[in-house]
């Protein structure tokens, strides 16, 4: 399988605190990778480094054979190939649901209004929000916002979708809806990189689970292996902590 994104020796510090230490990591085409780990382990920072919302201090991010950390590389074009779903939804507050899904297509990809709205509606249907196209973000519930946010990211037709704890800010009853959509997306063959606290989702849906601890990838492998026979002591510790809690 070909690697879509390959990360080599990535490091990132906030002040004197080293959040990511020499991370080597890759995502293959069509693969669903879940990143798990306790809070502060650096998993969100890793995801945000992938689309350069955080600027890494060192290392390489290889996308389509090119190191996008090179100065000459265009960050904005690169980002259009990655869809991002945030924990706090971050829908554009000044735009309604349809425009949220269209603005990127029109202003960045320069699609025509007709094409943009058709694409937007197609993906709003995927997430089951096509009835709400004229609603403003403030009128939607958390689960609805997150579904629109997923549609907005999909409308750009990215190569990889990044999910940064997409269900952490949701009411428990909304979590199921969003996870169901993500599961459908995973089954459709979309490449996904998911930071999550939802262990059952990681177990069922992902092709590979990455466990992060204190800024390093402590263990990675098939979900069965990680969840049933973890080799590392800290993985075992973490899993026993989160799984008993549920």
């Amino acid at each position: 399988m070909e690697n879509i994104i390959e990360i080599k020796h990535l490091s990132k510090s906030f002040g004197s605190h080293e959040v990511l230490k020499d991370i080597d990591f890759s995502v293959q085409k069509g693969e669903v990778v879940c990143i798990i780990g306790s809070s502060g382990s650096g998993k969100s920072t890793l995801l945000r480094c992938v689309n350069l919302l955080e600027k890494p201090d060192g290392g390489e991010i290889i996308y389509q054979g090119e190191n996008i950390l090179d100065d000459k590389h265009d960050v904005y074009t690169y980002r259009t190939h990655l869809g991002m779903v945030f924990q706090q939804f971050n829908l554009f507050n000044n735009l309604d649901v349809l425009s949220n899904c269209m603005v990127g297509q029109q202003k960045v990809l320069h699609r025509s209004e007709k094409e943009a709205s058709e694409t937007a509606i197609k993906y709003l249907k995927t997430v089951g929000m096509e009835d709400y196209i004229h609603a403003k973000p403030k009128q939607l519930s958390g689960g609805q916002k997150q579904r629109v946010a997923i549609a907005r990211a999909l409308s750009m037709e990215p190569d990889v979708m990044l999910f940064d704890e997409p269900t952490s800010a949701l009411d428990p009853e909304m979590v199921g809806d969003v996870l169901k959509i993500m599961k459908e997306l995973a089954e459709s063959g979309l490449t996904m990189l998911v930071v999550t606290h939802e262990m059952s989702f990681a177990k069922e849906v992902s092709d590979r689970v990455v466990f992060m601890d204190q800024g390093v990838i402590a263990e990675e492998g098939h979900p069965d292996q990680i969840f049933n026979t973890p080799t590392q002591e800290r993985t075992r510790e973490f899993l026993s902590r989160v799984l008993t809690k549920n």
Partner: protein, 256 residues
Amino acid sequence: MSLEWLLKIVSQNGMSFVRGAGITLYISLIGTIIGSVIGLLIGVIKTIPIPDKKGAKRRFLKCVNGILSAYIEFFRGTPMIVQAMVIYYGLAEAFNIDMNRNFAAILIVSINTGAYMAEIVRGGILSIDKGQFEAAAAVGMNHVKTMTNIILPQVIRNILPATGNEFVINIKDTSVLNVISVSELYFNTKSVAGNNFRYYESFGIACVLYFVMTFTVTRILRFIEKKMDGPDNYIMSGNQMQVQKPEDALKNSKKG
């Protein structure tokens, strides 16, 4: 105050007051609009993220920011009446620049408002949730696209009350432009009162006119704010009930 005098002044000098009020409104409106545009531009420029790495771009941005800060500090830190003297008479004396009085008035009000608006806009941009910037960045927008499509529409709504405040202040503060003989309301009132020596009645009328202008402007802006917020409800697209409304049925049957 005598009613006779009041009526006499209104009948004799009414047009002078109206013209003065017109000029006042004209200068403060144009000045506020141009000032707001200046403020928005400066706000956008001042919030361009400065790169960490040393280089030409970083030096250039720092330099531009320095100049803009100097402009803001200078025009906020000196009285408009003094600026008016410097710009109108000062430039004429030093460089032989002969400006039209109304043009000078608009120029002075604009750059003054611009300095205040720049800070208001900057505050407005800083108050927008970081997530909005990140989401815009995540779909591949650069600083200008992020600003024009996402941030500024929200900022403009948020700073509308402050902008209205500036407008009201400008309506009142254009009165200082009488020092460069702009024929605005205060200047005209002074001429009227100078002729009839009825200061109480004349300036009483000016007072009422100023208040009517500021109050109307405040109400109009409040209305615009409400309009911009839009309705609290949204319309579901598609007929959820799948039932035809009677009026639609009528329309369809006519067409058919």
